[in-house]
């Protein structure tokens, strides 16, 4: 077999120019401004006066070849044969002919691909592999996203929010999903259950020990075999030991739960980038539609929509009204778990008399 093998061509990252719409190629780096004719549609105007229209539509990210071809058919029939995908797996069609926009929008909507996700909408949740593929997932991120976007589709298609809303979900506490205005993430609440029979054979014990953020793991002999032991008082149930050592099963149908975080903001617009912060936990990991998580997300979005000023991202809104009021308006409980106790926790404590009454 090795004989038939050929050395790979290490071509690396392909050049995008070859697949780029000619108008974009011609005006590369020469764009002057853009306008937003309607949700899901952008028009960029170049210094040369040329224009390019973009139509953005939501997809299910995990595309089957039929769906992919359907999207290409639309691109050929209603567009000009050039597409791209955004960082949130939305598809974008670029056309130089403005007349094509409306038919293209219609074709997409008719085929079940909602057009929207631009400007102050709730754009598609970004997500991760989940039960479909990953080896450590606590939930199915694709499923969570489908369930939530079903309920948020009008927010995707409209411009009802004070500013862009970038949501995300991750299927374990490693968090391959980004930070987000709202993030729905896994939170384990019990230490791993160890299958001692397997540890010795499968896991490189020193690596596993080193992986624990709180040094809760120590090598131990169990039933005469080399294994590992967890100090359950110290363990923060993060699951970091599980990938290097699958016998340390962290997932559980009950104790793997969801938590909701808000206010992650990667942009430098106005304030500096901020991390997301915990707002709700103890949420059941409840497939196939995760109604409890969805309800909280919708409540937060509604309060944000009502309370925030134009251009305030989620974090800016809460910082203006104060966290106590956030818990008041959303009706979410404030608990001791909200109070930081990780390294540098003191930066998250109130060391002032700035208090709203």
């Amino acid at each position: 077999m090795a004989a038939e093998m050929r050395e790979p061509i290490e071509s690396g990252c392909p050049d995008g120019f070859q697949y780029m719409h000619p108008v974009m190629r011609r005006n590369y780096g020469q764009w002057l401004y853009h306008e937003d004719p309607r949700p899901g549609v952008l028009v960029h105007v170049a210094r040369s006066g040329e224009k390019i229209w973009t139509v953005r539509a939501g997809t299910q990210r995990i595309l089957d070849v039929f769906t992919l071809r359907k999207l290409m058919d639309i691109g050929d029939q209603y567009g000009e044969g050039f597409v791209r995908f955004t960082i949130r797996s939305n598809i974008e069609y670029m056309v130089a002919d403005g007349e094509k926009v409306e038919p293209l929008v219609k074709a997409l909507e008719d085929a079940g691909f909602p057009v929207g996700g631009t400007r102050n909408s709730v754009t598609t949740l970004s997500h991760t592999q989940g039960w479909l593929h990953c080896d450590i997932p606590g939930t199915d991120a694709s499923g969570v996203v489908k369930a939530m976007m079903d309920e948020l589709i009008d927010e995707f298609k409209g411009w009802n929010m004070p500013n862009r809303v970038h949501m995300t979900t991750s299927c374990c506490q490693i968090n391959c999903g980004g930070q987000g205005d709202i993030a729905i993430n896994v939170q384990h609440v019990k230490p791993p259950k160890i299958n001692h029979a397997l540890v010795g054979n499968i896991c490189e014990r020193p690596s596993v020990v080193a992986r624990c953020p709180v040094a809760a793991i120590r090598p131990a002999m169990v039933d005469g075999k080399p294994s590992l032991e967890v100090d359950e008082k110290k363990c923060i149930c993060c699951g970091a030991c599980y990938p290097p050592c699958p016998p340390m099963q962290i997932n559980d149908h009950q104790y793997t739960q969801l938590a909701i975080w808000i206010g992650g903001n990667h942009s430098n617009a106005r304030g500096k980038p901020t991390f997301q912060r915990l707002v709700a936990a103890g949420i059941p990991n409840n497939p196939p539609r995760w109604p409890e998580a969805t309800a909280i997300v919708k409540k937060i979005l509604q309060c944000y929509k009502e309370g925030a000023r134009d251009w305030e991202r989620m974090n800016e809104w809460v910082e203006r009204i104060g966290w106590p009021r956030f818990f008041e308006v959303t009706g979410l409980p404030f608990t001791k778990y909200h109070i930081d106790n990780w390294r540098g926790a003191r930066n998250n404590l109130n060391s002032s008399t700035h208090i709203r009454f």
Partner: protein, 432 residues
């Protein structure tokens, strides 16, 4: 093997609702794809997924697999419940690098789909969170064939494991007026300088490059990249005063006060002027706008709100931040400014950024612990040691504020001060 369909009552619920359903798509393959291999594989994977939904547990485990000549680029998956769903007991993902900026012609996507259909499950993702095209669902018999075929017409694997990972760059110069650099060129220069490190994992851990053309950072680079390149500019922003006036009246109209100049001005005050983080903009009585460029921190806000009236400057370049990452081990980290500004015009500029990246990766490869990200290393050894390691001078733009604890050994103060003064003198001379 019987082509009996595994029941999927829970998954079926995910076919309801208006959002496009990945379940519908997979079922479509199972039910309607001409290729039996695909029908079977998707049937199996649906069965296993349903099982996951019912038990709330995952059932894949890893392994080691790679194409001939490479060490990484594939995420191997073997089913732990292969006895129940034998059709998909192997279900590997190939990570393929997208073109910088994610541009595709419909033709090329069809071609990729055709190849994938021959060898894989028919499922793919545009894109994974690191930006790869993920071809999900191949087995040991087929992945090499698929790779060889697409490799022939220009596609290569991305990273997986402790290696340089696939990069990302925003749409940027191709379509965006905010762009301050050639994102795609930077992306490709960097990535293709490290193909060996992409394909043969031998670093302490993963290393990611992301390029955003402006501080809006549409690639989340600061938080999610070890090496974040963000376009910016040094000279004055451009103000089109006529468009400032138009923007005021246009806004008045938008908020239902057609023709009401005062209302438009009020909106600008409340939403632009007073939102500038450094108070660097003024709206004058005659509806012109004055920018204190020396205090503008290039946050982008005013340009975002008034894209027609305001444009970035001409003296463009990039800022580079290092050490961003997500949660594992010590909690999320943002990158830290290491290069406040760097021109990115000439070939030498591109050489310089590649050298910088090599220096950083080399230093980290030598000093990072196993499974320690660059940012974690910086955190452990301190920014100053990192700077010294990579040969970069300290600069006040790297900090939010100077230290506030006196616990530091300062016996080299005089030399350090001298260095600063020399550098300033040289800069002055260079500028003159």
């Amino acid at each position: 093997m019987a082509t009996k369909h595994y029941p999927t009552p829970m998954l079926d619920v995910l076919e309801e609702g208006p959002w496009p359903s990945f379940i519908t798509g997979i079922k479509n393959l199972r039910d309607n794809h001409p290729n039996e291999r695909i029908r079977n594989m998707t049937n199996g994977v649906l069965g296993q997924l349903e099982h996951s939904y019912e038990t709330r547990m995952g059932y894949w485990k890893g392994g080691t697999i790679s194409v001939f000549g490479y060490g990484g680029g594939i995420i191997p998956r073997f089913s732990e419940v292969g006895h129940m769903f034998p059709e998909s007991k192997e279900f590997h993902t190939l990570r393929v690098q997208p073109p910088a900026g994610n541009y595709y012609s419909t033709d090329m996507l069809r071609q990729l789909a055709d190849s994938w259909e021959k060898y894989g499950s028919g499922l793919q993702t545009f894109h994974g969170q690191t930006g790869n095209i993920m071809f999900i669902g191949s087995d040991s018999k087929n992945y090499q064939g698929f790779f060889d075929e697409i490799n022939d017409y220009g596609w290569d694997l991305g990273g997986a494991g402790p290696c340089v990972r696939t990069g990302m760059s925003c749409v940027g110069a191709a379509r965006c007026e905010m762009s301050n650099c050639n994102e795609q060129a930077i992306h490709r220069h960097l990535l293709n300088n490290f193909t060996d490190d992409v394909h043969r994992p031998a670093l302490p851990y993963k290393f990611k490059f992301k390029v955003s053309g402006c501080p809006n950072d549409c690639m989340n680079a600061i938080e999610r990249a070890d090496f974040a390149i963000i376009g910016t500019w040094r000279d004055d922003m451009k103000v089109n005063q006529a468009e400032v006036k138009n923007a005021i009246m246009k806004k008045a109209a938008e908020i239902g006060k057609e023709g009401d100049r005062a209302a438009g001005r009020q909106y600008m005050f409340d939403n632009v002027i007073s939102r500038c983080p450094t108070g660097a903009i003024k709206l004058n009585d005659d509806d012109t706008m004055t920018v204190d460029n020396s205090n503008c921190v290039r946050c982008m806000h005013c340009l975002n709100v008034m894209p027609k009236a305001l444009q970035t400057g001409d003296d463009k370049g990039v800022s580079i931040l290092m050490g961003g990452k997500r949660t594992l081990k010590i909690g999320d980290l943002m990158g830290t400014v290491i290069i406040p500004f760097m021109k990115m015009d000439t070939d030498e500029d591109y050489e310089r950024i590649k050298e910088l990246a090599s220096t950083v990766i080399d230093y980290w490869a030598e000093n990072g612990l196993e499974h320690e990200r660059c940012g974690e290393m910086i955190e452990r050894i301190g920014l100053v040691n990192f700077l010294e390691g990579i040969g970069i001078d300290p600069d006040p733009n790297m900090i939010q504020q100077p230290r506030n604890v006196s616990y530091v050994r300062m016996d080299g103060w005089d030399e350090a001060a001298e260095e600063w003064f020399n550098r300033k003198r040289e800069e002055k001379m260079a500028a003159a």
